[in-house]
């Protein structure tokens, strides 16, 4: 299966529609998605990529075509910086500077 097929299947599952009914160039939210369904989509798509796919990426790349291209793009593997840790240390760093 191509990446496009995987993305369409993941959309179909998240939106509970048939794969044939998945629009290619409509944003996930316009196609009936909401934030929770986006997480379902995100979980499925992470199974099909070695990239460090973030839920936020699916906001920036919101259509089937865009997501498929994004997943296919041969980017440098993203360093596995544990994002929650980064967020917390940012906060802690601020705490030290302000304190």
């Amino acid at each position: 299966m191509t990446t496009l097929d995987h993305v369409r299947e993941a959309w179909a599952e998240a939106l509970d529609i048939t794969t044939d009914d998945v629009p290619l160039d409509v944003s996930f939210f316009d196609a009936g998605g909401n934030s929770l369904l986006l997480l379902l989509l995100w979980e499925r798509l992470t199974e099909h990529t070695t990239r460090d796919l973030k839920a936020a990426d699916l906001f920036q790349h919101s259509t089937v075509l865009a997501q498929s291209e994004f997943l296919d793009a041969d980017d440098e593997p993203v360093a596995a910086a544990a994002a929650p840790q980064a967020s917390r240390s940012g906060l802690l760093g601020r705490a030290r500077r302000d304190g």
């Binding site: 509970d16 944003s27 939210f29 316009d30 909401n34 934030s35 929770l36 369904l37 986006l38 997480l39 379902l40 995100w42 979980e43 973030k54 839920a55 936020a56 906001f59 920036q60 994002a83 929650p84 980064a86 967020s87 917390r88 940012g90 906060l91 802690l92 601020r94 705490a95 030290r96 302000d98 304190g99």
Partner: protein, 968 residues
């Protein structure tokens, strides 16, 4: 008279199910989407149907009978009926009536009544042979399909008469309202439950225990597929002449029995010959309207009463005498619920063959011929014989044999019916002749099988090792089967739940337990399709999301997964955005005096954390249900103590920040932590919970309770947490908000990044006592709160800096009914502050008050619904709809035990700018928490100064224009 509770009108909108309803509900839940219990009433109209009038007439009938507008739900594990408003569509259709008759109901969401009309479909001219042109002008037909849970055969006369009267009234332009009955079905249901007599049940079960079950007529299919029957049914209908009926009445009088007994005795003799059995049980379908108040009610009352039939006595008259006694006795058991009786006699079937005498035909009217019940292609029994009076009053009857095609071949119907009527005619003519001398015209399709010894399941030995999930499944089998006294030794993969003595009610119990014990929702229909250990194991495996990590410890209080609220679902989503998740933590720091008694304090914290279910919640996203669910059966959090008396300031700050801002793994961790940090002069409590399980008021409840327990005071029972609520209608609110910009211009010093940041800090000012008091007074004159006045002033402050004149601000709504509850109740609402048209201050306050009132009216509309309507294209660079949040602070609460609450700095902000207005003794405190990545401190300081100046302008002259005058 008995001392039973009265059967009275209660007016409840939510009521328990009667036992009869519960049986149908369980059957429906076990196999949703089946037309098994559809009652399709087919009316041949005389002429043309006025569709609108028919609809109004049906609405009037539904208004009169609550059960026709009732839906069914599970609330806290209890099955309930919920009375709704009348609603029905009447459509003119052209598809096949048989298809329409077999369309299943969704009892949870739709009323149990449907109606369709066909134009000119009825070409049946038998009723109007005197009319030469009736063949040309075909009449309309109407199909009224009702789920059996709302109607039975004894309901039809009332139902049809009511429809007739209402339709007449509508056509004549009269008031179609029908007088309300003295009680409703739900009143009966509640009474049915309250007056259930377990002793009567136990007594009847003991009487029937030694009667062999498993009545199989010769020619029955055997093999595993036939073990359950398929519910695919066939009908065979046959007439009984009026003279025969008259002879039955006469014979009944002669043997001092009822016609019911005579008809049943004939049936029993035919069954005895077809099965080769001398003793067996037949299920008599009884009206079960034992109270006069129920006689004219529409609803499902009927109960199945097993009758012991024995081929004792040479002549038919002797048989009738024997059966008369049993029939009379059985009437005293009319109210013993069939399902309960079956459950009390485990490890065996109860009855497979049924009999009903339906002697109250639905009346015909001038508008239609009496309705006929269309076949649904299903069978509820292996074999069911229904005898009915014809509606024309001629005294003739007709019989319907409904039988299961999974059990018997199609030719059974004709032959069994022929044998029945032949024997019926014979015993009328010769009641004193030996029955053995009469040969049935047909007899059984094949020699009946000898009676199998019950209770020995025919399972092949399983050599396969059970998988982990199958072991769990086997454990569930064992557990529930033990409850009905079925002994289960070795369970293999192919062990069949029903062969081991289980029944469908028990299967439902088992499936509910699977959800409770393992957090896995198994659809009953999936299990019942193949009720084996292997199948349940596979369903448990499929329903589980990922392996259990073993984090769960002993389960103190098993609970079923509950759906999270809309707000909780939103927070679950935000917890998946790494940049945002710390913002949805609720940390609180309180310094207690050093002499507080650390051991007592710690024990008190443990007590308080253990008593609120939400503080033990584990959340997960259920892919099947497509929603976040939670359970509350994990171990509670416990307080820790850290001695930090030798630490330097940076180490202490780091430690406190870590306690405050480390996210929770909501699927696996308890979403709350508490630590007592020992300092030289104080005991500092850091209490942090995820926002999914607490709001600000909850934290105050927790601290108050900790204080009370430390001081040795008793606590009241904890208040249950928030329930997920049905989605409220967003239309009115969205209309009121539409058109306003879904962003706010702010004096930002730095541009937004790709992802929203949450690091914030706080600056505040206190307005002078005079200004504060006057602001409060002016606001009050227009009916606005000080908080709403502050929101108006903020809008004006921003408008004086930029060009925006129409603002949306987010603000919190407490959402709670009980001040002592612990949970997340707050909903985020949207306030519109519209400065267009150059209003005076007073006009502006009036506008804001009106806008707030509209928003409060829609306080149950979820924030997500508003986002979906107003700002669907949201991205993650900023909060949806608006980056500004306004709130009213609370300065009246103080921590217990002489504690002092410490401000949080830094603080996590969910919005770019969060303004809190707090009434204090010194004056109105205005504090702004802001995103440090966007604003420099000086900008916020000057914004606060401008806010102060604008407030002064307001209190100086409320009639002056609020904004600067600008050319439009």
């Amino acid at each position: 008279m008995t001392d039973q509770p009265a059967l009275r009108a209660r007016g409840a909108r939510v009521a328990p199910l009667s036992f009869a309803q519960e049986r149908l509900w369980l059957v429906d839940a076990a196999a949703p989407g089946s037309p098994l219990y559809n009652v399709p009433l087919y009316f041949r109209w005389n002429g043309t149907v006025d569709v609108d009038a028919l609809r109004f007439a049906l609405l009037a009938v539904m208004a009169r009978h609550e059960v026709l507008r009732t839906t069914y739900a599970v609330v806290d594990g209890d099955r309930v009926q919920v009375v709704g408003e009348p609603r029905i569509r009447v459509a003119v259709v052209d598809h096949d009536p048989a298809t329409e008759a077999r369309r299943a109901f969704d009892l949870a969401t739709e009323p149990p009544v449907r109606c369709a009309v066909w134009r000119g479909l009825s070409t049946d001219s038998t009723d109007s042979a005197d009319s030469a042109d009736s063949a040309d002008s075909a009449d309309d037909t109407v199909l009224l399909t009702i789920h059996h849970i709302a109607v039975d055969g004894w309901s039809l006369p009332t139902l049809v008469a009511d429809l007739d009267a209402a339709y007449d009234a509508v056509l004549a332009g009269r008031d179609s309202t029908l007088p309300a009955p003295s009680i409703q079905y739900a009143d009966f249901a509640a009474w049915d439950r309250e007056t259930f007599d377990p002793d009567l049940l136990a007594g009847r079960a003991a009487e029937l225990a030694d009667v062999p079950s498993g009545l199989r007529l010769g020619g029955a299919r055997t093999g595993p597929d036939a073990a359950l029957g398929t519910n695919t049914g066939a009908w065979h209908q046959f007439p009984i002449a009026a003279e025969t009926r008259a002879a039955v009445d006469e014979l009944a009088r002669a043997v001092r029995a009822t016609p019911f007994v005579v008809f049943l005795a004939v049936y029993a003799e035919v069954l005895s010959r077809w099965s080769g059995r001398e003793e067996f049980l037949v299920g008599a379908v009884t009206a079960n309207r034992t109270r006069v108040e129920t006689e004219d009610l529409v609803g499902f009352f009927v109960n199945t009463v097993p009758l012991r039939c024995a081929a004792k006595g040479r002549t038919f008259a002797q048989r009738c005498a024997q059966l008369r006694g049993e029939a009379f006795r059985s009437m005293t058991y009319q109210r013993v619920p069939y399902d309960r009786l079956a459950a009390a006699l485990p490890g065996r079937g109860l009855v497979e063959v049924g009999f009903a005498l339906q002697n109250m035909p639905a009346p015909s009217s001038t508008r239609w011929s009496a309705p006929e019940v269309l076949p649904t292609g299903t069978a509820k029994w292996d074999v069911l014989l229904v005898l009915e009076d014809t509606p024309d009053g001629s005294g003739a009857m007709f019989g319907t044999l409904e039988f299961d095609l999974g059990r018997y071949p199609a030719e059974l119907g004709g032959r069994l019916a022929a044998d029945y009527t032949a024997l019926l005619d014979h015993v009328l003519s010769a009641p004193e002749a030996p029955l053995a001398d009469f040969a049935l015209p047909y007899g059984p399709l094949a020699s009946p099988e000898p009676l199998a010894r019950p209770g020995i399941p025919d399972t092949e030995p399983d050599t396969h090792e059970l998988t982990g999930h199958e072991k769990r499944a086997a454990g569930l089998f064992r557990e529930v089967l033990a409850e009905i006294g079925a002994r289960v030794a070795d369970l293999g993969r192919n062990s069949n739940f029903f062969m081991l003595g289980g029944h469908s009610l028990l299967a439902m119990t088992m499936v509910e337990r699977a959800a409770r014990h393992h957090g896995i929702a198994v659809r009953p229909s999936d299990f019942l399709a193949e009720p084996t250990v292997a199948r349940l194991g596979a369903l448990l495996a499929a329903g589980e999301r990922g392996p259990d990590t073993g984090h769960t410890t002993t389960q103190s209080e098993p609970t079923e997964p509950r759906p999270a609220t809309s707000t909780q679902q939103r927070f679950w989503f935000l917890d998946r955005i790494p940049e945002l998740r710390s913002a949805y933590l609720v940390p609180t720091i309180v310094d207690f005096p050093a002499g507080v008694g650390v051991d007592r304090l710690r024990a008190a914290i443990d007590t308080v954390l253990a008593r609120h279910p939400m503080l033990r919640a584990r959340f997960r996203l259920d892919r099947k249900l497509r929603c976040v669910v939670y359970t509350t059966d994990a171990e509670p959090a416990r307080a820790t103590v850290t001695d930090a008396r030798g630490w330097d300031a940076p180490k202490l700050d780091d430690h406190i920040a870590e306690l405050c801002w480390t996210p929770f793994d909501l699927a696996r961790e308890t979403p709350v932590r508490a630590e007592i940090v020992l300092l030289p002069d104080s005991a500092r409590l850091v209490l942090c919970a995820h926002h999914m399980v607490v709001d600000g008021a909850s934290v105050r409840v927790l601290l108050d309770e900790i204080g009370a327990v430390t001081e040795g005071r008793a606590l009241a029972e904890p208040v249950p947490a928030a329930e997920s609520r049905p989605e409220a209608d967003a239309d009115e609110l969205v209309t009121a908000l539409r058109g306003a910009p879904t962003d706010v211009w702010l004096p930002r010093d730095h541009p937004r990044g790709d992802a929203q940041a949450i690091e914030g800090t706080t600056r505040s000012i206190t307005l002078s006592p005079d200004t504060s008091a006057t602001l409060r007074a002016v606001a009050a004159e227009t009916g606005a709160s000080t908080f709403l006045a502050a929101a108006a002033v903020l809008a004006v402050t921003l408008a004086r800096r930029g060009d925006q004149r129409d603002f949306l601000f987010a603000f919190p709504w407490s959402g709670r009914d009980d001040a002592c509850a612990v949970g997340m109740f707050v909903n985020t609402l949207i306030l519109r502050v519209d400065l267009r048209g150059d209003p005076t201050w007073r006009q502006l306050l009036d506008r804001v008050r009106a806008a707030a009132a509209a928003t409060y009216r829609a306080a149950d509309v979820s924030f997500d619904a508003v986002v979906a309507a107003l700002h669907p294209e949201r991205d993650l660079s900023r909060p949806p709809i608006t980056p500004v949040y306004v709130a009213a602070g609370d300065d009246t609460w103080r921590p217990p035990l002489g504690g002092r609450q410490l401000p949080l700095d830094p603080v996590a902000v969910k919005y770019e700018l969060e303004l809190t207005a707090t009434e204090t003794a010194a004056g109105l405190d205005i504090s702004i928490a802001y995103q440090v990545d966007l604003f420099d401190e000086a900008t916020i300081t000057s914004l606060l100064a401008e806010f102060d100046a604008a407030t002064t302008a307001l209190v100086t002259d409320p009639e002056a224009p609020a904004g600067e005058e600008k050319p439009s």
